[in-house]
Structure formats: structure tokens, C-alpha cells
């Protein structure tokens, strides 16, 4: 459906239909189209057997070929809607009633109805059916299938509730009901050991044969969603905790990027870093020897940081770099933490934070360094 049949396919189909060779069908098709085209170009209409009439139509400068299918062609192609007829309607009926939404809403309602989960509630009649399906041994104990998985570990949620019942009620208070197990007689440590319905493996069979459960009294279908919910909530909690701890770790120990090559970016970022560095600054990082100061590159202390601190503008990092070039290497943005640098005096390079020319020179120097 919705395919475009090309000439080769058409030829093969004609050959098969006419029980002839592809070559003959191809010759026929070629002559048919040549003849039809010639007639149409002359301005004549052409009737192709079983298909319809092709007639050239001219409207001003526009030319088109009108096509009128044969009755059999039209009826065959409209066969899916052949049973519909034109119907007189009330004046109240309008186009809005024919909107797709309306027709779709009915269909959607059906779909939603079909997809509603089937809720099974045990009833008296159901119990009778379940009894028939329960297999019991001679002692009237439920006989489990051999391939049934071993019961899992006890569910701690269940046990505490049962212990409370034991302490709050005495034996006299609990009404004795025939064939109903008394809670006190069941040890608390084993109460939680209720094997689940094997829904994970065979959910359908669990729904159809609920009697495969070991105990009908303490375990029902309603507990399955809560058990699943507790596992899901545990998983989500674990995931959330992992994300929060990762975010905290990255915030406390940001990745080392060295000094930025773009000085404008440094201006935007550094103010915050400098403030935080000043609060948590390691005083042993700066060592003053004679008139030259020695500083240490750290995760939070870069050349630009030092330039801002000593010279008043981070753009002057280039001079610190140049003075210590031998030990820093050719890549100022790849300096390892712990590297010691000597802070040259401002007079050596004409550093003046209040002079825009000085800052401009420093920026140009930075570009030269980065080009290398």
C-alpha cells in the first residue's frame, strides 16, 4: 500500500497477466504510450480500454490532462466504501460533528477500555474454584510444585507488625476461627519468610492460578504492588544519593583546567574563585625570599589568580609565566599543581593595573603566547 509502481514492475505484471513474455509486454507498453502521447499532443482525447479517457485541457497558459475513469474502474477502486450512501441529515448536524476528534474519541474509549488492568478480587465463588486447583497431600497440607523456587529471605516490614500483635493481645482476646492460624503460635522470625507469588517469572500463571501461593491468608495480590514499590523507591533513592554525592564531590574538587587562555573568561570566572580562595587559602603556599615572592600553583590558585593578587589584574599572568618559563614549559594552561613560581617585581615589566595600555600590552602578549 502507498507504493509507487514503476515501469519494470508494471511490465512484469502485464506479462504475467497476459501470460506472455516481458519483452512483448514491454513492446506493447511502449507503443501504447507513444500512441496515446501523440494523440494527446495533437489535442485529441484517448480512451484506454478498461482504464478511462485522457483529454488535454487548456486553461489560459496552463495545460493539464483530464482523466475520467471507466465505470468499472471507479466502482472497483471504491469498493471499500460502496455500501455507504448519501443520507439526508438534520439541519442541526454540521461539519463539527464529523471532526476526527469525535470519531477518534470513540475509538480511544474502546482502546482505553481494553487496556484497563484486570482487577481480580477473591469472592466466594472464586474460593471454590481455587480449592479445586489446590493440590494437597494426605495431611491436608498444600503440595507445592517441584520446580517452585525456594522462599527468599524474610521481609522485615512484615515481622514488626506481627510482633506488636503478639504483645498487645492475649490469647483470650483473639477470636478463635476454625481453620484460621493463630498469630501467636507462629514465630516472628519465620513470619516474614513468605514466599512471593512467582510473578517475575510467570506473571500470567500467577494471575490465573493464584493458589500456587503457600499462604492465602497473609499474602494477597494487593501486597505485590507495594513490594515492587519498595524496591523501586530503594533504587531511586540510591540513584539520587549517587548523583548528589557526585555533584558534591565535583563542587568540592573541581576538575583542574589550569589558567584560561581567554583573559575575558578569566575576568568572568576568577572573581568568584579569588574570593573563595581567600577564605580557604593555604598560608604556607606563599614564601617570601628577599624581595621576590615565591608562590605555588594549586587547584584553586593559578597564574591569573596570582596576577590579580600581586599586580591588581589577572591579565598580568603573562609576566609571571614569562619569568618562570623554563620551569613552566610551553603550555601555560597545563601547569601541574604544586609547581612553584617566582613572582617578578612589577617594575621589571612595567606592570600597572591602573594603566589601560599596560593591561592591553599584557593581553596582546597572552595572544602571542597562546599562538605558540
Amino acid at each position: 500500500m502507498n507504493n509507487t509502481i514503476l515501469l519494470q514492475q508494471l511490465t512484469a505484471a502485464i506479462a504475467e497477466k497476459a501470460k506472455t513474455s516481458n519483452a512483448v509486454a514491454e513492446d506493447y507498453l511502449r507503443e501504447l504510450l507513444a500512441t496515446v502521447n501523440d494523440e494527446i499532443i495533437k489535442g485529441n482525447s484517448v480512451i484506454i480500454q478498461g482504464v478511462g479517457e485522457f483529454r488535454p485541457v487548456k486553461e489560459g497558459n496552463n495545460v493539464d490532462i483530464a482523466f475520467v475513469p471507466t465505470k468499472s474502474f471507479a466502482e472497483t477502486i471504491n469498493a471499500p466504501f460502496a455500501q455507504f450512501e448519501t443520507v439526508e441529515i438534520d439541519d442541526d448536524f454540521d461539519d463539527e460533528s464529523l471532526s476526527d476528534e469525535d470519531s477518534m474519541s470513540d475509538t480511544l474509549d474502546e482502546i482505553i477500555e481494553i487496556q484497563k488492568p484486570v482487577q481480580i478480587t477473591p469472592s466466594e465463588s472464586d474460593e471454590d474454584n481455587f480449592d479445586d486447583l489446590i493440590k494437597k497431600d494426605e495431611d491436608d497440607n498444600i503440595k507445592y510444585p517441584e520446580d517452585m523456587p525456594a522462599p527468599p529471605m524474610a521481609i522485615p516490614i512484615v515481622a514488626p507488625n506481627i510482633e506488636k500483635v503478639e504483645t498487645e493481645h492475649s490469647e483470650d482476646d483473639i477470636p478463635a476461627v476454625d481453620n484460621e492460624p493463630i498469630v501467636e503460635e507462629i514465630p516472628a522470625e519465620t513470619m516474614g519468610a513468605v514466599p512471593p507469588i512467582p510473578i517475575a517469572k510467570e506473571p500470567e500463571s500467577a494471575v490465573k492460578e493464584p493458589v500456587s501461593e503457600p499462604s492465602q491468608d497473609s499474602y494477597g495480590y494487593d501486597e505485590q504492588p507495594s513490594k515492587r514499590f519498595s524496591w523501586m523507591s530503594f533504587f531511586y533513592g540510591l540513584l539520587a544519593g549517587g548523583l548528589i554525592s557526585t555533584a558534591l564531590f565535583l563542587w568540592i574538587f573541581p576538575p583542574i583546567t589550569g589558567s584560561n587562555t581567554d583573559t575575558d573568561a578569566i575576568d568572568a570566572i576568577e572573581p568568584e574563585l579569588v574570593d573563595t580562595v581567600e577564605v580557604a587559602r593555604d598560608t604556607t603556599a606563599t614564601v617570601t625570599t628577599d624581595s621576590l615572592k615565591v608562590d605555588t600553583i594549586t587547584n584553586k590558585r593559578f597564574l591569573a589568580t596570582m596576577a590579580r593578587e600581586y599586580y591588581g589584574d589577572p591579565a598580568f599572568w603573562v609576566y609571571i609565566y614569562e619569568y618562570n618559563k623554563e620551569s613552566l614549559g610551553t603550555r601555560p594552561n597545563r601547569i601541574k599543581p604544586g609547581t612553584k613560581v617566582t613572582i617578578p617585581p612589577a617594575e621589571m615589566y612595567g606592570i600597572n593595573a591602573s594603566d589601560p595600555n599596560s593591561i592591553e600590552l599584557a593581553k596582546q602578549k597572552a595572544k602571542e603566547i597562546n599562538k605558540k
Binding site: M1, N2, N3, T4, I5, L7, A13, I14, K17, A18, T20, A25, D27, Y28, L29, E31, L32, L33, A34, T35, V36, N37, E39, I40, I41, G43, S45, V46, I47, I48, Q49, G50, V51, G52, F54, P56, K58, V63, D64, I65, F67, P69, F73, A74, T76, I77, N78, P80, F81, F84, E85, T86, V87, E88, I89, D90, F93, D94, D95, L98
Partner: protein, 94 residues
Amino acid sequence: MNQSELNRAIAAKLKRPIDDVEKLSAAFADVVIDFCSNGDSVAIPRFGTIKSVSKKEYIAVGNDGKKYLYPPKISAEFAASNILKNKVKEAANE
């Protein structure tokens, strides 16, 4: 040109009996109808495309002034190729 004239012209060009050409013409029509009934389009180079187009139901006022609901419909349409149209236009302008 009606269908018998067309078949005769083709038979003369192919130098084949008229019965063979009529059989081929019938096969051609059946094939085109089959494809269009399945919702496919038949594209013939330098001629055009024959395709089926579905139209939704609609409400209209008849000549008698009454409202009618017209049923949905699938109809066959033909889209001529530009080459053919241009040739027709050129021929008309001559």
C-alpha cells in the same frame, strides 16, 4: 481516439494480431486497477501517474436545499508528467 482505434494502431505498429493486443490491453487495465485498488500509484515515465485518492465524508446542501451527508469515497486520479504537459503546450502554441 476510442479504444478499438487505439488497439488497431498498436497492432499495426507491433505487427501483431489484434487479439493479442486486446489481450494485452485488458491485462494492462486489470493490472492498473489492481494496483490502484491496493492503494498504490502507477507511475509511467513521460506520461504520468495513475493513483487512488481517498476523500472523507462531507456535508453539503443539495439542490433541493436540504442537507446531505455524502459518504467517503476512493477515486482514481491522474497526474500528467511535466514533459507531456510541456509538449501539449508547445503544440497548442504553434
